[in-house]
């Protein structure tokens, strides 16, 4: 809210700008115009352009005529890119498996992540103040690490001969998988083994983020509420389910949406660990966009795929706005 301004000249009936208001307006115009122009150019324009590209058979290697190189040898094809997604061709099959892989990845990562981070946050909150910081700092370490370095690390950990994981599995007397990342026939409950391996590495890197959010949310819950429940005879389990968890609802929804969105946008760890293989079993949508646009130069087709990704993200975001409203506060 603007304060009533002592310097503002008294207005004489007419709607006129005072000297101070003029100074302010000049400042706003001069500062905001370049920033907004910049956003139009680097955010809005690419978005509109991406939508348009999806209706063209566009490749940057063909010297197209017309506006933005569209038209001529890069013809308008209407909805053909979208119709092609349902066709029985190799690119369409790869695209469809990318959609399945992305959704499978997101829906496996989310529950596993929550099942680890929420209890862990409660446990960290229950211990002595002096050690909380230490554990939080350690668990957050993978999250700040470079995703590429983490993926290279885990590629080695999953190495069937020299890898750490198989060494541990052998040491406890079990038979490890022959190949974690390259065996297309290894599928467990419909999930390829390579996908499982990537999920393990991804969760290892990512869990610290949600953990820190949950710890902060738990610290924000007034202790009196839990104490009151205890006085009324509730045990720790009941207190958690009936008091703590309902109060965490907004945080929980925030975490769910953010985890989903970032899983939809996953790329690095797949690119480095599996490069989409074996047999496209671990190709996520972003990799499919990247490969089609920048390796095969099929940018129209890739833009259409990116619209599918956008739609998926939009749906999750809309669901977020519907559910994130909470009915009560504390």
């Amino acid at each position: 809210m603007e304060q009533p301004n002592v310097l503002a000249a008294p207005t004489k009936g007419k709607r006129k700008f005072s000297p101070l208001e003029r100074v302010k307006n000049k400042f706003v115009t001069r500062s905001l115009t370049p920033i907004m122009a910049y956003m139009l150019f680097f955010s809005l324009l690419p978005m509109v352009w991406a939508v348009i590209l999806g209706f063209f058979d566009y490749s940057p290697i063909r010297a197209g005529g017309g506006f933005l190189g569209l038209g001529g040898v890069n013809p308008f094809v209407g909805l053909e890119n979208y119709q092609a997604m349902f066709a029985d061709t190799q690119p369409a099959r790869v695209f469809r498996s990318a959609v399945v892989n992305t959704i499978m990845f997101a829906f496996l990562v989310l529950p596993i992540n929550l099942a680890i981070t929420l209890p862990l946050a409660v446990i960290i909150e229950s211990i002595h103040e002096r050690f909380k910081g230490f554990f939080r700092a350690v668990y957050f370490m993978p999250t700040i690490s470079s995703a590429v370095a983490v993926a290279v690390m885990w590629g080695y950990i999953f190495n069937p001969q020299q890898g750490l994981l198989n060494s541990i599995i052998r040491a406890v007397g079990l038979t490890p998988p022959k190949a974690w990342l390259t065996d297309p026939t290894a599928v467990y409950f419909g999930v390829p083994l390579a996908m499982i391996a990537v999920i393990i590495a991804y969760i290892w890197q990512d869990f610290g983020y949600n953990l820190v959010i949950f710890i902060a949310a738990l610290q924000g819950i007034p202790k009196e509420l839990q104490d009151a429940a205890r006085v009324d005879g509730a045990n720790a389990w009941h207190t958690f389910w009936r008091i703590t968890l309902p109060l965490l609802k907004p945080t929980l929804l925030f975490v769910i949406v953010l985890t989903m969105l970032s899983s939809f946008q996953v790329f690095v760890i797949f690119d480095v660990m599996t490069n989409g293989g074996p047999r496209n079993q671990t190709t996520p949508l972003v990799m499919s966009i990247y490969e089609n646009a920048f390796r095969y130069q099929h940018m129209g087709w890739a833009a259409a795929i990116s619209m599918v990704l956008f739609l998926m993200i939009l749906v999750v975001t809309i669901i977020e706005f519907k559910f994130l409203r909470t009915d009560w506060e504390y």
Binding site: K24, F27, G69, S126, S146, A149, V152, F294
Partner: protein, 290 residues
Amino acid sequence: MATTTTADRGTHREFSIKRLFTQSSAYLILIFGTLVTLVPFIWVILTSLKPASEIIRMPPTFFPETWTLDSYRTIFTDPNVPLARFYMNSLFVAVFRVFITIFTSTLAGFIFAKYRFWGKDIIFGFILVQLMIPFQVVMIPAYLILVKLGLVDSLWGLIIPSMVDAFGIFLMRQFIEGIPNELMDAARIDGSSEFGIYWRIILPQMGSAVAALGIFTFMGTWNDYLWPLIVITTHEKRTLPLLLTWYNSQHGTRYDLTMAASILVLLPILVVYAIFQRRFVRGITMTGFK
């Protein structure tokens, strides 16, 4: 206390034993989690300190039998890997992006928080819409724009398209709204310009918010992979993550070398983290940044 009866002490002790049990199982779980988190790091460090011959031995060793810095020596003396160059590339992009993003975010955030002007709500709504558009959806046209600007295969191509951050503006507005107007009005009476108010009154009060924005912009840039992968083609212009994947593809089976290279990429940010750990965690909880 002298008045405590033995019965009281009995129940008290019972309670303590139960508490001791839950407490110690809590610590056991946390220590197990710590091992799961740290062992991969430790193993990678130990691998980078083994000689090449020990890497391929079956069964693999955990601790090196022979400790050596050979892998690091190989990387440092490799003429194809001018490490200082790659560190400078990453640092150059990250530092520019951090300072420019902080400047544009705080300035726009200040205006949206403290000024009334025509179309304000619409323009701010436009910024909120930008928040919902992920980079991966617009990266193709963003690349085509870069081609038109002649910025492909240039480090500026990593900086210029991301100088304004919708989330940063949104965040800074939230913080600046909490700053009282009295100081601003006092500065105006003293003859300060509007930009002077931003520079001398608002900015100095935003330490922790700016630190959070700066830390996450730095991390995001330092670890960024997809956009540099698209933009940069010349070897000497690679940033550290690109260098690492390239090095990995060149020496895929020499795990002593690739693990040493990974450590070299990880080290700077881990050192920064070790120093500013509290700020990192506070920044996340304050902003919900990802």
